[in-house]
């Protein structure tokens, strides 16, 4: 049985990092949350939501905020609210399991200065509580990776995505979990994904999320997903049809059956195998959703180069373009350009990615972590009110 060195939480979950996290539960608390984290040497998550939201829009926000607190990569969490926000800040903090969790309300604390001072004290306390924790051997099957592509070029579909597919197969075979994201990439290959589904019910769910996306584009923007898709840039790069483009995207999921479809930031703990998580195609959202669901590491394929990281989930950059890898070498982790040059096979690079996942899970920092990229964002469903 292969293992990695992870942090075992009190509720049985295992994490690959031990972050102290300060989460703003409403944009009014963003500035205070940021300064608390800075002063205390912690990581902060801020955003534009948390109030005047309804139904599934509100549920998504709260699921995401709770989810980042619950992430096994987080050793301790402080939720910072204003005091009158819609997000139930106090209850949320009290519902966190497996780690120390606190809350702070700016209105109660006495305003910005007092809240920052009190918050920094809490962060110091949380840092002391998490400092002693050591990594222990954990089964590789407890790992969950999320998958995405950003800044794609013609190498993405033929080099980096197929290589990630090999790595995903290896992880799933070891008992682990992988999350295919970015629903806007599915139109054109939803029939292939449906064929790969574990059951007709899962196939139906896949069609459902793709239809929802197609309908949204049609009703809100009066456009068809096929309009201008493939784009002029895609066509210049050699992509001829939408099926071809979409097939190139889903290559990163590998060959195993799709076990089900998850909603944005849905808890992934205990879910084995390959899953689809319904996320936007926007790069920051599509890493943040799985991170809030408890994904440990993100595999991010790129051709033109993207510097993005994530506040709580290490992002591993797999670059299929040899020229980009050279030019952006401080930001790229894996050189899949060797496939384009013919010096390595898709299989070989796939294994390299798999081994890198084990190393990153055991504590090795990715380039985006070294460069302190800590992006995080929460999408909205519908209008801003």
């Amino acid at each position: 049985m292969r293992t990695f060195q992870g942090y075992r939480r009190d509720d049985g979950r295992v994490g690959v990092r031990n972050h102290v996290l300060v989460v703003s539960t409403i944009s009014c608390a963003n500035h205070v949350a940021t300064l608390i984290a800075q002063r205390g040497g912690a990581i902060s998550i801020t955003h534009d939501v948390g109030c005047l939201q309804f139904a599934q829009d509100r549920a998504l926000t709260e699921r995401t905020l709770f989810g980042v607190g619950m992430s096994p990569n987080v050793g301790a969490v402080l939720f910072v609210g204003l005091g009158c926000e819609q997000t139930p800040t106090v209850e949320m903090a009290r519902s966190i399991t497996g780690k120390p969790a606190r809350h702070l309300l700016i209105q109660e604390a006495g305003g910005t200065k007092a809240a920052i001072a009190a918050g920094a004290d809490i962060v110091h306390e949380l840092t002391r509580l998490t400092a002693g924790q050591e990594r222990v051997a954990c089964d590789l099957g407890e790992l969950c990776v999320s998958l995405k592509c950003g800044g794609s070029d013609f190498t993405t579909a033929i080099a980096s995505n197929p290589a990630v597919g090999v790595a995903v197969d290896l992880l799933v075979e070891a008992g682990g979990t992988a999350l295919l994201t970015e629903t806007p990439g599915f139109p054109g290959s939803e029939h292939v994904l449906a064929r790969q589904a574990r059951s007709p019910e899962v196939a139906r769910r896949i069609y459902q999320i793709v239809d929802t996306y197609r309908d949204e584009i049609r009703t809100r923007f009066k456009r068809n997903v096929h309009d201008g898709n493939p784009s002029p840039g895609n066509i210049a790069g050699g992509i001829t049809t939408l099926i071809e483009k979409s097939l190139g995207t889903i290559k990163k999921a590998g060959t195993h059956a799709i076990e089900g479809v998850l909603t944005f930031a849905e808890d992934v703990h205990g879910k084995k195998g390959l899953w689809v998580m319904d996320t936007p195609g926007h790069d920051v959202f599509s890493v943040s959703g799985p991170a809030a669901g408890g994904a440990h590491v993100n595999l991010f394929t790129t051709g033109r180069g993207s510097p993005l990281g994530n506040a709580i989930c290490p992002v591993l950059k797999i670059c299929g373009n040899p020229e980009t890898f050279r030019r952006l070498q401080d930001d790229m982790d894996i050189d899949a350009g060797s496939i384009m040059l013919g010096t390595a096979s898709v299989e070989e690079v796939g294994r390299e990615i798999f081994e890198a996942v084990v190393k990153v899970a055991s504590g090795e920092l990715t380039k985006s972590e070294l460069l302190e990229h800590r992006e995080f964002a929460i999408p909205r469903i519908g209008s801003t009110l």
Binding site: P162, H191, A194, P200, T240, T241, I243
Partner: protein
């Protein structure tokens, strides 16, 4: 160094890994192909003759249909491949009863 990438044994097109010139001979897994047109890196070249109306296959899947005869060795792209995405997806859906 390889010039072509064939992604699946069923494929009738290959991807140029670098710019290929008209007249260039490329060898791929024991098969020799004369490229008849300039093929930019990342673009497709036909591995065999693809008759009009036949499927263009990449990744082992149908990605489009030949608008006219696509001769072995020519550039296969928007000028000779029809995008039939809607039709394929609709058909497959009907077949699965969804």
């Amino acid at each position: 160094m390889r010039s072509l990438l064939i992604l699946h044994p069923k494929d009738n097109v290959a991807i140029a890994l670098s710019d290929l010139c008209a007249g260039q001979a490329v060898e791929q897994e024991g098969r020799r192909l004369i490229v008849l047109e300039d093929i930019p890196a990342g673009h497709k070249v036909a591995l065999v003759d693809i008759p009009p109306g036949e499927c263009v296959v990449k990744y082992g899947e149908e990605i489009g249909r030949a608008k006219a005869l696509i001769r072995q060795g020519v550039h296969a792209h928007v000028h000779n491949i029809l995008d039939i995405t809607e039709e394929v997806v609709r058909e497959e859906r009907r077949r699965l009863g969804l």
